[in-house]
């Protein structure tokens, strides 16, 4: 495995996404006789790993061939689908969406179709939270999950037991690296550490109270990164000695000998996940159900953890992952992003966050 990770590659994958869609459309008539399915995933290392390790196994198990379609990410893919689906072209049968984009898609309507959940019996393996009930019934089945974790440079500081330690200026003055995007988790982490978690996120007053707390953290932050490569560089070259970063990438960096240690403080780390959604108008709902069923199998979840670095959505006990393998990609407790707040109160939260950052 390399430190070149899926999210960095999403950006490069975006440009070739259109070509992939065109190619997939041209290829369709040739294999119309056999059963096939067009599955979207985020381009780059991530998609390549799916093509190399997951789709062939699925084809071997079910006889359904998979055409991989490159998605740039889920938010921008939503924009593509919003134009494609009403125009009658269906670039994928199954798309991969983050929870926020999936909820947006379900609210916009007519983009993702309800699922026949009885054809996906193995979805029972997943926590109920990962089967998304939209306005039209079940509209998404969890695919994989990833953590955004607390990281520190173990050569410079002791491993903190709580996120609250980051507020300690004696330890971390001008030394932390955190994301400058409002929805990347610092609000959720602060809410979980000092307030009532998601509940506090649901009101404007709550948001402002959390932002007041984040404001106290500002003297300790030297790098407000907007691209994760900045954080990677910051940790590597010693500009930052702690912060928030993706668990799998942090562990890969540590395995390569860089001074970074990902840890689960007592409040936990931020866990986000992707879902498979059936495109409205797709005629492959039966094949799609088989794919989602296959993906929900603990063995497939373990395969993805090993080969792609994602966290399984099923209990560790159901998989054959060793402790080391599991801890490389997952841990507990987990903090769940306040998706509803980010969706319903999007513009207010962004402007208040930007204002807080812009104060000198």
């Amino acid at each position: 495995m390399t430190t070149f990770n899926r999210r960095t590659l999403l950006k490069t994958g975006a440009s070739i996404g259109g070509l992939a869609v065109a190619g997939a459309a041209l290829g369709t008539p040739l294999i119309a006789q056999s059963r096939s399915l067009k599955v979207g995933s985020y381009g780059g290392y991530f998609e390549n790993s799916f093509k190399e390790f997951v789709y062939p196994e699925f084809t071997a198990a079910t006889g359904i061939t998979v055409e991989s379609v490159t998605q740039p990410n889920s938010a921008d893919w939503l924009v593509t689908m919003q134009q494609a689906v009403p125009a009658g072209s269906i670039p994928t049968d199954i798309s991969l969406y983050g929870r926020d984009s999936m909820i947006k898609a379900s609210r916009i309507g007519g983009l993702i179709a309800p699922l026949n959940i009885s054809a996906i019996p193995k979805a029972e393996n997943l926590d109920g939270y990962f089967v998304f009930d939209g306005p039209e019934g079940p509209q998404g089945v969890g695919a994989m999950s990833w953590f955004s974790a607390m990281v520190v440079n173990p050569n410079q500081v002791d491993i903190p037991a709580s996120w609250a330690d980051f507020w300690d200026t004696d330890k971390f003055e001008a030394s932390l690296g955190l994301s400058n995007v409002h929805s990347n988790g610092l609000l959720d982490i602060t809410a979980a550490t000092f307030f009532d978690g998601e509940e506090t996120m649901m009101s404007n007053e709550g948001i402002l109270a959390i932002l007041d707390k984040v404001r106290e953290l500002k003297p300790n932050v030297t790098l407000w990164w907007n691209a994760e490569s900045q954080m990677e560089q910051g940790m590597k070259n010693g500009d930052v000695i702690g912060g928030q970063y993706y668990l799998d990438v942090a562990n890969l960096m540590a395995a390569d000998g860089f001074p970074i240690k990902a840890t689960f403080p007592k409040e936990g780390n931020l866990q986000d996940y992707g879902s498979w959604c059936l495109t409205a108008g797709s005629e492959k709902s039966a094949e799609a159900a088989e794919f989602m069923n296959y993906s929900s199998d603990p063995a497939t979840q373990a395969l993805m953890s090993r080969k792609i670095g994602t966290a399984p959505l099923v209990d560790k006990a159901m998989t054959d992952l060793t402790d080391d393998e599991f801890n490389f990609v997952s841990g507990s407790p987990s903090i769940k992003p306040a998706y509803e707040a980010y969706l319903d109160n999007e513009t207010f939260i962004k402007e208040s966050w930007d204002k807080m950052l812009a104060e000198s």
Binding site: P72, N73, S74, A75, D76, L78, V79, Q82, I103, K104, R107, I108, Q156, E173, A174, S175, N180, V181, S183, T222, L223, W224, N226, Q230, Q233, K236, N237, G238, D239, L343, D344, N345, E346, T347, F348, K350, E351, D354, K355, L357, A358, E359, S360
Partner: protein, 326 residues
């Protein structure tokens, strides 16, 4: 050839081959289409989208609302609450662009003056080198400075191994640097800071400054300043009263051009500027990207940035005219 000849020839050509005219018409047609499709339409689209409306929790819809423009000046919650966040960002767009362009021109001026006094062949080598350096993109340059200023591989490391950091700590100036945000408890740090931002932006446009100033400076008549010198004027007096006045137009023009170029600078600001000094260009991108999907507000910011730049160019033009008239 007289003008009459020319007209005659054109008329002849026109009569000779209607094919030629058709080809010309087709060429103009294609060029116009390209202009409209790739230049004017996107431009109009941005203006139209700036009146659209964001839907919380979904995308945005076509509409006609001035809310985005109002938000730019007084914030989302007006009239309950006022924020000048976006004006502040516009202010910093100007702040960085003005300082960096002036700095680039001021440092490029003596360099270019010296350059014009070199042998022709040496000048050519320098110019080719400077032209070649233009091929480096902003991302590349920012990456380079990022490494040069970073703790383990750059200037702070040099401070540490030469004992300068320890010396600063011993004499007590280190605390001052910490208060200024230029040090953490362990070592000095130069990014993020306005220093790093302006440095990178000036560096980015410096080759442009040289290339834009070079034609004017190379046309300077050395006998003028020589004459002034023989009449007893000091070197500084010559520079002030002879050299500078004769190049004030290219100086002003170059500064204006670099300024407008730097107004849209994205990478240097987003990587090196502190969060309290982010600019409109950075804010535009953060609004239109997938996670926000607020293209209408991003477009409104873009339109306002464009208008501000146009106003600056207009005043620059006025100044130019005034200078020329004198």
């Amino acid at each position: 050839m007289t003008i009459a000849d020319d007209i005659g020839m054109r008329a002849d050509r026109g009569l000779d081959s209607s094919k030629g005219i058709n080809a010309k018409a087709v060429l103009y047609g294609v060029l116009t289409t390209i202009m409209v499709v790739f230049c004017i339409l996107p431009f109009i689209l941005v203006i139209v989208i700036s009146f659209g409306q964001k839907v919380d929790g979904a995308g945005w819809v076509w509409a006609f609302t001035l809310a985005n423009y109002q938000r730019f000046f007084v914030g989302l919650l007006w009239p309950d609450e006022v924020t000048f966040l976006y004006l502040q960002q516009l202010g910093y767009s100007f702040y960085f662009a003005i300082i960096a362009s002036v700095l680039a021109v001021l440092t490029a001026l003596p360099f270019t003056l010296l350059l014009t006094r070199l042998r022709r062949s040496t000048q050519a080598v320098w110019l080719v080198f400077i032209l070649a350096s233009l091929s480096m993109s902003e991302v590349f340059i920012v990456m380079g400075w990022d490494i040069l200023l970073s703790n383990n591989s750059g200037l702070p490391k040099l401070f540490e191994v030469t004992g300068l950091t320890q010396w600063l700590k011993d004499v007590g100036w280190f605390q001052t640097l910490r208060d200024m945000g230029l040090a953490n408890p362990r070592n000095v740090k130069f990014k993020p800071s306005s220093f790093a931002t302006i440095l990178t932006m000036s560096y980015l446009v410096w080759p442009y400054a040289v290339i834009l100033l070079y034609p004017a400076l190379s046309r300077l008549d050395p006998s003028l300043s020589e004459a002034a010198r023989t009449m007893g004027a000091s070197r500084w007096t010559v520079t002030r009263t002879v050299t500078l006045p004769s190049i004030r137009l290219p100086l002003l023009g170059t500064t204006l051009l670099l300024f407008v170029f730097l107004l849209g600078s994205y990478v240097s600001v987003s990587v090196f500027a502190t969060p309290d000094k982010q600019t409109t260009a950075v804010a535009i991108y953060s609004n239109i990207r997938g996670s926000n999907m607020d293209a209408p507000f991003g477009s409104a910011q873009a339109v306002i940035l464009l208008i501000s730049a146009s106003i600056c160019l207009y005043f620059g033009h006025l100044l130019n005219n005034k200078a020329e008239a004198r």
